[in-house]
Amino acid sequence: MNKYKKATSFLLCIILLLVMLIGCSQQSTSSSDNQASSKQSTSNNDSQKADSKDEQVTIQFWHNYDAGAGQIDVLNQLIAQFESQNPSIKVNPVYLEWSALRSNVVAGATTGMLPDVLRGDIAFVPQFQSLNVLTEMGALPDYNTIASSILEAPNSSAKMGDKFYGIAANTNTKILFYNKKLFEEAGLSVPKTQDEMWNDAKALSKGKVIGFVEAGTGAWNIAQYIWSNGGDLLAPDYSTATGYINSDIAVATIQKLADLYKAKALTGPSLDPGALGDTDGWTAGVYAMEIDGPWRATMAKDANIDIGAAQMPAGTAGSIGVLGGEDFMMFKTSDKAHQEAAWKFIKFMVGKEAQVAMAKVGQIPVNKEALTDSATIEAMPLMPIFSEALKTARPRPVTPKWSDIDNIITTKVAEAITGQKPVKVALDEAAVEIDKLLAQK
């Protein structure tokens, strides 16, 4: 017993020591961590290149371009082109799947293990900014000049308050896609209003066919229905959610979705893990309609599905889609040389040539010249429909707490649609939780 006591007290001393060290280090993070992590990132970047006499700089570029659609091939070509134009810069691309991209930035935040350039979903901007890792790109010398050559709406996705923390890389929004064969067989015409669309969904759902697939329940998925009916998720100044997310309009809209789900006319893999993923479902001829982005056309083509496209059916207030896309972001952890090189690369990637090249593999350009370029129009036959949709598409709120707010919406809407809770109850709860979140410092 004596030995036990001695060993225990010894161990407790060590633990206490460790705890004090760790606890104290958190309070005085500023100076020591500062130097440590910036030294870390520089030396990390150093160790990955031959950084010696000719001052060559290698920048780390994290992205999630789609290999299947040929985007990676184009990216590599563009990188080769950029490197030949800028011999002192090397670009090292790292592909990360969508959620891995986000979690790697989260994991890398404290330590400074971050890339120099990242192309990621515009929805990441608020979350990354809350980690205090993004460079305020708006403060870069020629930012405004470059920004003027880019569509304003997509670029606003990188704006928080009145500062820009990124620049648009490509944009997209969603339109209606439908399975032509199933429509013909059912003798239906393309719906023009939301109500028509829901009725069509019910009519098409028999046998193994399900009329409508909605892949998720976050703002990206359902905001369009609420906006198109004149409702909103949050107050225009983002100060509250009560009266918006649980307004009568929102409740009625979500109620329709819940009814469709119950009638087995609507489903999705996050609502029902037993349902086929949207791509797999399209390929198998199970899904008849979806509101989705340009990639849906490419995938359908690959799978030989005769797919039709049309404007998203309008609600009572019009056809208002959700603005999506990706932004380029830069990070505070890069040193000056890397930041300069990164900015050069970004400028190249938002230049007309690169944007047109990417347009050929399904990336809707944000560069104004590239949009009207004949090569783009030729490569994207659906461009007219998307252009029309982009005119009215709205961005999601760009506020620091947006990621958490979206999580709440996703959960509550899912509870409502799957029937776990009555729609009004779920949305009321959402309002309460969101307001609590907004009230915290």
Binding site: N44, N92, A107, G277, T279, D280, V286, R296
Partner: protein, 281 residues
Amino acid sequence: MDKNSLQKSLIIRYIILALGVLFMIIPMIYMITSSLRPNSMTFSYPPQIFPKLSQLTLENYRYVLLRQNFFQYMSNTLIVAALSVLFSALAASMLGYCISRFKFWGRDFLYTVIITIMLIPGLAMLVPEFELAVTLKLVNNLWGVILFYTAWSIPFSTFLIKGYIDGIPKELDEATYMDGGTVFTIFFRIIIPMASPSIAAVSIFNFLFPFEELGWSQTILKIDSMRTLPVAITQFFQAHNRTDWGYVFAMTCLSMVPVVIIYLFLQRYFISGLSSGAIKG
């Protein structure tokens, strides 16, 4: 029991076992056949376990082997597996030996702590571990994976090996001391050979681990040339819910080959290695 009923019960055993095997391997068969079919056919309805011969294609394997860095991923994974098995075996048997044979200061306590650590999954402490890895410059480095896997496997390995060593007669130690041997001599000449079944047993588990661990390897290994197989497989989970199932299954089937080989190689030690005093009644 007379011969006849012995025969009967034997046949019944075989039948039950065979049916069981069927249940066990149907998913695997499905995986193999899916890897031999084009991507778009994976989720055809009605689902088919046994595809028509005309649909079979080696396209997926060709893609995985030629257009991807498969051999790089495989060699990375093998290196990680071999080294973490080696280090873990060494460290665990050293710890197991000392805990089993010597009553040193803090011994019981140390053993309790080791067992307690076994209860905590290595991955639950992701963020502190990642900060540690960065400080030690272990990111994008196979050592960042090897050292952590070793650490995670030591508690269980120590537990098993220590239990086994408990069953090795102490007289052998005595004899060696008489002959002028040291603790080291005993360890290398006697303990390791005699404890080899249990070392083989833990090594099978530890060898498998890098072939399926995803969370940590995905965090540490970012550069393509550094990736291990599990990470490489996830790159087929493309954006927007599109997954190239054929490639996923093809790569998985290929990655299972080394593990099955090692298993066949070590499996005869497996059974005896698990017969340690700590486990028996």
